[in-house]
């Protein structure tokens, strides 16, 4: 069961993180086009080779996103797919693209995620209020509209703090340990020029002194929204030989979707990445000890900690001591989020998940510059959607 490891990421693109006020407005179809152009150029492959496309959706059209993009880009598709997995979308795109390639239904697949909300505004139509419901739906009949939103259970901070509180009750909590994750990732961001916090190191005390947002989560343990965008090009083995970069083979994946709202999780502190990671490692025929770097979806520090535990890099309940015993920087014994992660690179909206795919692929390609991990051949990447409710694991490997 599973992938043979015969589809590879051969082109990557990630726009530098920009502060919200600095972004040039562009439609999401134009953002997609520019990123598509970049991943093809990065791979050294002509865009006309593309015959597969994956998208999360586009701002200009509620439906028919693959067809609209196919038409706009002028690229007829043998595989057009839309993925709706929140922060796990990007990782979910990668395995779907790899599976389509291995099935032989297409040769080269764009998996691109625009990450800028700065779009041109119509002079004729009233601006649409983006609302404050975030990942919750206030539509009539939505469970969230009826049973969550009226109690103020909306947004991400509250539910993630609830997860952290439950974790604390079961296993204990060490604020300096979660802070250490933020500090290590900031160190990585300081070696990665595109990061929003490049050149701005922080200390554990800075994290602990930052305002409490939702107990026990501090401000510096929460992602900052930026503008950006990221994408990859996934191709078959024949095209991988022609590409410019070291192919990053998609060796294994796992996906598990468990719930929407954490109130209804079977077990709030044992997250879906456990099953997803087990399946990924089994598929790839790899061990945890084979991993040279991990890029872990990091909307909050607690997300990183629990993902490392549940993915099997340390025993359940030992993550707080484990992160203090290991060096998570790119120079360390267990490099995590070597481009800063979303905590320190910035979260470019839906492209935040693609940050981790690009981080892993960039390291395996050996193109991470000052933040390059020595002898990096195997990367473990996670995506996390909702409130640790839907997660995807990827194992990426150079030859």
């Amino acid at each position: 069961m599973g992938l043979r490891g015969e589809a590879a990421i051969v082109g990557i693109a990630e726009l530098p993180a920009l502060k919200l006020k600095d972004a040039q407005p562009a439609f999401t179809i134009d953002q997609y086009a520019r990123l598509a152009q970049q991943v093809c150029a990065d791979a050294g492959l002509e865009p006309t080779l593309v015959n597969g496309l994956v998208t999360h959706g586009i701002g200009e059209s509620a439906m028919f996103a693959p067809a609209t993009l196919s038409e706009y880009l002028g690229l007829p598709l043998d595989f057009g797919e839309r993925v709706d997995l929140g922060g796990a979308t990007a990782a979910g795109m990668v395995w779907r693209a790899a599976a389509a390639v291995e099935l032989g239904i297409c040769d080269a697949v764009l998996a691109v995620v625009p990450g800028s909300l700065a779009v041109p505004r119509s002079q004729r139509r009233p601006a649409v209020d983006p609302g404050w419901y975030g990942a919750s739906s206030n539509n009539y009949g939505s469970p969230q509209a009826e049973f969550e939103i009226p109690y103020g259970n909306v947004g991400q901070n509250g539910p993630y703090a609830q997860i952290a509180q439950r974790y604390a009750a079961e296993f204990g909590y060490d604020p300096e340990a979660t802070a250490a994750i933020a500090v290590a990732q900031r160190t990585n961001a300081c070696a990665h020029p595109g990061a929003i916090f490049h050149g701005k190191p922080i200390t554990t005390q800075d994290v602990l002194d930052s305002p409490m947002i939702a107990d026990p989560i501090h401000m510096l343990e929460v992602v900052m929204r930026v503008h950006g965008g990221a994408g990859v090009l996934i191709v078959n083995a024949d095209l991988a030989k022609r590409a410019r970069n070291r192919p990053v083979w998609v060796k294994g994946f796992g996906e598990h979707v468990a719930f929407k709202t954490p109130t209804y999780a079977d077990d709030l502190v044992r997250t879906p990445i456990a099953r997803a990671a087990d399946r990924a490692f089994t598929m790839a025929g790899l061990e945890r000890t084979d991993v040279d770097m991990a890029s872990i979806y990091d909307c909050y520090t607690i997300t990183v900690l629990m993902s490392l535990e549940d993915a099997g890099f340390c025993a359940k309940g030992t993550g707080m001591s484990w992160v203090r015993e290991h060096d998570l920087t790119f120079r360390g014994d267990f490099p995590v989020n070597t481009a800063g992660g979303q905590l320190s690179f910035g979260q470019a909206g839906m492209a935040g998940g693609m940050h981790h795919v690009v981080d892993g692929a960039r390291q395996v390609m050996g193109r991470a510059g000052d933040a390059q991990v020595a002898d990096c051949h195997t990367a473990f990447v996670t995506g996390n959607g909702g409130i640790m409710s839907e997660q995807v694991a990827l194992l990426l490997q150079g030859e």
Binding site: G141, P150, Y151, G152, G158, A164, A169, A214, D215
Partner: protein, 142 residues
């Protein structure tokens, strides 16, 4: 955010599926569904039982008592309607019958909240909409 502090708090709108739950809250009772074939209580209200998809859900009254499964004290409002309502005491309560429910705690100091503490329902009627929300306070009988 520049939203005015007067932004109204969103109220639930009962649906054909959930109406009995909200009607019961208005009467000071907690009515949730039970699937005899699965032997499980179910929340929130559905048409078919989750997991088995059995077409045998029936309404049963429960005490509404339970324990705090988890919580957080939100010092920053989770959304504009709550800018004047911090700290928000956001909690998940596990009913004695099994299912969990999202709620807010009232009548308790934030520092006194503990996971596992016993809580009892507070039937909180919103005079404007006529809707009764289900909030929780420390159990007065234990």
């Amino acid at each position: 955010m520049n939203a005015p502090t007067t932004q109204p708090k969103p109220m639930p709108e009962p649906t054909p599926v959930s109406q009995p739950f909200w009607d019961a809250l208005a009467e000071g009772r907690v009515l949730i569904q039970y699937s005899p074939s699965a032997g499980e209580y179910v929340f929130y209200p559905r048409t078919l039982a989750p997991r088995t998809l059995a077409d045998d859900l029936e309404w049963r009254e429960i005490s509404g008592r339970g324990t705090v499964y988890t919580f957080t004290v939100a010092d920053r409002p989770t959304a504009p309607p709550w800018v004047d309502a911090v700290p928000q005491l956001l909690a998940v309560v596990e009913w004695d019958e099994g299912p969990r429910v999202s709620t807010e705690l009232v009548g308790v100091e934030p520092a006194d909240i503990r996971i596992g503490m016993r809580v009892e329902p507070v039937f909180d009627r919103d005079p404007d909409s006529g809707t009764t929300l289900l909030r929780y306070r420390p159990d007065t009988t234990s």
